[in-house]
């Protein structure tokens, strides 16, 4: 795999981390402002989990049949 695909994958990781950080702060604010309302907090948590599963865990990779090793 090329240096270009490596830096692209690293950049994706940074973007996902920043989005997760923003969502975590949003969670904290929503939890404080809404006095712990379940629905908005659950939605944010689901988005965070989806981001981790999609980008960090490479969920679609489990369905592929042609990859060895890391599969980046």
């Amino acid at each position: 795999m090329s240096e270009k695909s490596k830096s692209s994958a690293m950049r994706t990781g940074v973007v996902v981390l920043v989005v997760l950080a923003v969502l975590t702060v949003a969670e904290f604010v929503v939890g404080t402002v809404t006095n712990g309302s379940l629905v908005p907090l659950a939605i944010i948590a689901l988005i965070k989990a989806a981001l981790i599963i999609q980008y960090f865990m490479h969920a679609p990779r489990v369905l592929r049949s042609d990859q060895e090793g890391g599969g980046h």
Partner: protein, 190 residues
Amino acid sequence: MSSMMATHEGGFSRINMNRAGLWLFFVSEGFMFAGLLATRFALLPGTRPDLDQTVGLIVTSILLLSSFFMYRAETAIAHGDRSTFVISTFLTMVLGVVFLVGVVGFEWLPSEFGPSDGASGSVFFALTGMHAFHVLTGVIFLFVIFTNGLRGVYTAESHWGVEACALYWHFVDVVWVFFYVSLYLVGRVA
């Protein structure tokens, strides 16, 4: 063709079977953690334990950051960059230990309630205890791939151990995403 590359019927290789098996394990673990979450909402409907919000936010941030370094480590070894892999794995391991210290040292020990002091105590210690145990096993797993990495065991073509460790670590992070919200943010203080 190596044993790792050997394909099974239907064109699925050994690595695909490994991945499927690990994801099935996550599904079974997911049911167990979902059961703990259900217990939390059944025992404390509309309320939550009285916890230190700052500690919760800090340990959550640490775990998210550790997931990023784990991703970085896996990406690096997939591209044959062993030094970045070793450094990132080490940082992930350190952040995992810091998370454990944060939960045990700054939440459990100063806590004014224990596991047997009502629903709040039971819920808090059951959820954080089960999760902390998974973080601990993840740190041990990280140590194994870290030492293997120092010995040059993994290559860009063959690093299933790293991938499995990364998947496990991210799974533990996903669990905490829901535990953080349900323990620290949802409901009024009991």
